[in-house]
Symmetry: C2
Subunit: 287 residues, 2 copies
């Protein structure tokens, strides 16, 4: 089967052609401008490609519930050009009426791809956190992506502040929510330089302290079989090990399952899919 | 249809007979002793009652995944008599082989009942927190109870400490997790008297501050259509209003949905089912 995939991001739209095994044959990166300009290039890429289905993983917030009239519409976003843009409907117009098209958030899509082909392969549940400029979260519970009132936004949950930490937090909404305390943006504000340039052990211990709580809160809410941390900040060597260490310390044996006590190295992991996780995730949405 | 229901608690087992509409015709309360003594009385109650199905909502942790060999077995618990007790298997032995029996946690069951007949009726998702001696949580996502590695244990998630609060927390595992900061037990430790005897406004403002974060973290992870707070502590007059107030303040407009901005009184609510919510929940598990 020939499947189209779109990873719709705030800075670029990555479009690709792949198949039901998650293989990507061809792709292109299109800079995000106005919807009109951007979508023109997107459709041009897919022209004549004979795609049979199309999956779209988009920046949020976006309506992900199929039974809602605004399914696939981007909601209130600071990207004003895109506010209330009916992404799914615009794509539908360009293809035959009966083509299967599905839309979800980029992070939900990535979580789904990790469950199909990556770090959580063979499982029924997982949570995917991407720690970059911001913190995004996707989750699968009992085989289905988490939808409800909206979709997961767990990057903004509240966690406990480290007793020695007096940084006010960088989130414009909440100050010291998780994103405000542990995103790339917060690292830059707190330490005066980008994550990639920070070597100070104390900085990474603190980062791990917050990401460990992220993993604990994910475990205690979703009860996933796997917790995956991706995004630029996780490129820091050894960070994932520190997260595991603090996770064990803070959880303190509360959940008595071997998976989180003995085998934490196999429970909190980096993504199993490479740089194409986003595209593969979009593709996975129509399988 | 005649349905049996068991609400298996640490101090009592409530057994009942009801039907598929959630009506309970008859019930009995049995003090919890050893499994052998307790179950003997339980089975005696059901004898000759012609029940066609049986739902069991139990204290946890308990294996809730039907595809696991130890489905329905109580796991590591401080109630040593009950540790590893195969609750489902023992019940099965007492009834005909082909009778449908389902087991879940008491709080998951209550969440399910609230979705079927209570505060979240007609919806596909909800979260139920019970704030009593401890804090328990149940959740429904896309129509199904949350299972995975285990079941929700969100009562122990981490939240941010109030800047003026220096209580160390009462949780034996985590100190200042949610349960350690906001359960009935923590109120008693913090203020030196039981919740029911506390009138100090500051105490209830602080309680609301933590429960509001509970609601926010639930919203940002599960994205439920309804958040329900039950349990003894919620008997305090006006507490639910304070929780809503702080929820709006702390969320600060981040999720731009009318449900959580305009209609928060209808989003964060008390249970819709009366004192029989637990039993009705057990019953709902086999519908
Ligand atoms: N090797 C690294 N070590 C630590 N932080 C890094 C590293 N590489 C990138 N980052 C940080 O990751 C963030 C960018 O994350 P990324 O996921 O690539 O982007 P975005 O979230 O914008 O899509 C920046 O804050 C950057 O400083
Ligand atoms: N009216 C009330 N106001 C405040 N707290 C109350 C009230 N009634 C009961 N509580 C508190 O609720 C807790 C018991 O909760 P409950 O749900 O009844 O029991 P359990 O969790 O043991 O099943 C106690 O800490 C008690 O002080
Ligand atoms: Zn925030
Ligand atoms: Zn705890």
């Amino acid at each position: 089967m020939i499947i189209g995939a779109i990873e719709a991001g705030g800075t670029k739209f990555v479009c690709g052609i792949g198949n039901e095994h998650g293989e990507i044959f061809e792709k292109i990166s299109i800079p995000t401008r106005t919807p009109k300009e951007t979508m023109k290039d997107v459709f041009q890429f897919f022209e004549g490609k004979q795609i049979e289905r199309m999956g779209v993983g988009s920046f949020g917030p976006i309506q992900v519930s199929q039974d809602q009239p605004d399914y696939g519409t981007i909601l209130e976003t600071p990207k004003t050009d895109w506010k209330y843009f009916p992404l799914l409907d615009e794509i539908k117009k360009n293809f035959s009426d009966d083509m299967l098209i599905a839309v979800d958030t980029d992070v939900n899509a990535a979580a789904f791809a990790e469950m199909k082909w990556g770090a959580a392969k063979g499982m029924n549940s997982c949570v995917y956190f991407t720690v970059g400029t911001g913190i995004g979260a996707g989750a699968v519970v009992r085989g289905k992506l988490v939808h409800g009132l909206l979709h997961p936004e767990a990057g903004h949950m509240f966690v406990k502040r480290h007793p020695d930490d007096d940084f006010k937090g960088s989130c414009p909404y909440h100050g010291d929510c998780l994103e405000g305390l542990a995103s790339g943006t917060s690292m830059r504000e707190r330490w005066g330089k980008a994550g990639v340039d920070i070597q100070d052990k104390a900085a990474w211990d603190l980062e791990a302290y917050y990401l460990a709580q992220t993993a604990i809160n994910a475990l205690l809410t979703y009860s996933p079989e796997k917790i995956i941390f991706g995004g630029g900040v996780l490129n820091h060597p050894g960070l994932i090990d520190k997260v595991r260490e603090q996770f064990s310390k803070l959880l303190n044996g509360y959940i008595k399952k071997d998976e989180v006590i003995e085998d934490v190295d196999d429970y909190i992991v980096l993504p199993g899919l490479g740089s194409e996780a986003g595209l593969k995730g979009s593709l996975a949405l129509v399988l």
